[in-house]
Structure formats: structure tokens, C-alpha cells
């Protein structure tokens, strides 16, 4: 079993990166790998509640992320500094996500066998 960390650094819907990474994380988790998804920088916007992706012809990211967390396929982490820099807090997020400091995030990345970014 490998320790995968999927890193999301861009906001949702401008591209499909967030959704595709969530789908990849879901498949890795279903293959019994250890999977974490980390939201940094503008990636924290992926988690924001109140999104309406259908309005721009995009597909939801928060739905698959909720499925990941509920079925224990992956652990979700968000960086506190990235949230604060964007005037967001854990209460603004649609999906229950563990908040890590930048230092803790760097430990998480340091322990990964495989890092995939989007």
C-alpha cells in the first residue's frame, strides 16, 4: 500500500482539475491505498459551500469529496493559512475537512510516497 497525497491548488470550475483529482482520489481509495487530499492556495475555494456549478455547465466537486470522506476512501485536509489569506474559515466549507497549519501540511507532504497535483 502506498501513501498518496493529491494536492489541489486551483479554484473550481475554471478547469475540471478539482473534479478529476477527486475522481482519481476516489479510485485510489477504492483500491485500498492510503489517500489524502490536500487543499492549498486557491484550491481551498473548491470546498466552499453554496457553489452552483451547473450554472456554468460544470460538474460538482463537493459531492464527490463528501463521498470520499463518508466512505472512508480518503482523508481531506485544508491549510489554515490559505483559508485565512482568502478570508475564509472552516465554517465556510461544504465538506468536513481537517484544518492543518502550513507546517503540518508540509509534514503530510513529506510523508507521501506519491504526490499528484492539480
Amino acid at each position: 500500500m502506498k501513501n498518496f497525497v493529491f494536492v489541489v491548488r486551483r479554484a473550481a470550475h475554471g478547469t475540471a482539475h478539482g473534479r478529476e483529482l477527486a475522481e482519481a482520489a476516489m479510485l485510489a481509495g477504492a483500491m485500498d491505498q492510503s489517500v489524502a487530499v490536500a487543499f492549498l492556495d486557491d484550491g481551498v475555494f473548491q470546498l466552499k459551500s453554496g457553489q452552483c456549478p451547473a450554472a456554468v455547465g460544470a460538474v460538482a466537486v463537493t459531492g464527490p469529496l463528501a463521498a470520499l470522506a463518508e466512505d472512508g476512501l480518503a482523508r481531506l485536509y485544508v491549510e489554515s493559512e490559505s483559508l485565512a489569506e482568502r478570508n475564509l474559515s472552516a465554517e465556510d466549507l461544504a465538506v468536513a475537512t481537517q484544518v492543518l497549519t502550513r507546517a503540518e501540511m508540509s509534514d503530510l507532504l513529506g510523508r507521501a510516497d506519491v504526490i499528484l497535483t492539480a
Binding site: 475522481e23 481509495g29 477504492a30 460538474v59 459531492g63 464527490p64 463521498a67 466512505d71
Partner: protein
Amino acid sequence: MRYAYGDKSWPHDENGYLEHFESWDEDLAAVIAAAEDIILTPEHWEVLYFLRQYYADFEIAPAIRVLTKAVARRLGPEKGNEAHLRRLFPGGPAKQACKIAGLPRPTGCV
């Protein structure tokens, strides 16, 4: 391309997946199942309604291994195993069951 039953019809894509998730009903499920050579039993309906709820909640059609885990967690391991699901849907539990349940083609499905 459309499925038809009585005076009802439903558009589908080139692989037979329903275009509009919300337009699904049990008549349509029976039409698609017949085209796939499946006679629907209560065990089939359980999986179909499970998939409808999963998609309504999470907006994603689950791949086979994801589906197996989700069914095991919510309906128990005797239902959530690949052998049981393959017996019900020999054409591929995710691929075929999603089609009959009116979901899009599952992620990671070729």
C-alpha cells in the same frame, strides 16, 4: 436516440446512458433492463435505488470498486461484494446498473 415505452420517451447518449437523471422512472428501468437481457427482481431494485440515492447525494456515478465499498458500508457486506453485484448485473455492476438506474457512465469506465 431515445428509449420509448407507451407514449413516453427518454433521450439517451450513444452508449445508452440516460440524458436527464431526473426523467427516470420504473418503466424506463424495465425498458433498459429488457434491452440488457435482465429481469428485474427486488434485489436489482435495491441496487438501482441505492445508485439513484448515491448520485442524488454525491453527483457522481461510482466505479465498480467504489460502488462495492459504498454498498457494503450502507447495506452490509453480503450485499456489498463484487460477486453478488456481478450476479445481478453480469454486464458489469457499475456500468450496467448505472445505465438501468438512469445515471451517467461511471467514472473510470472504458
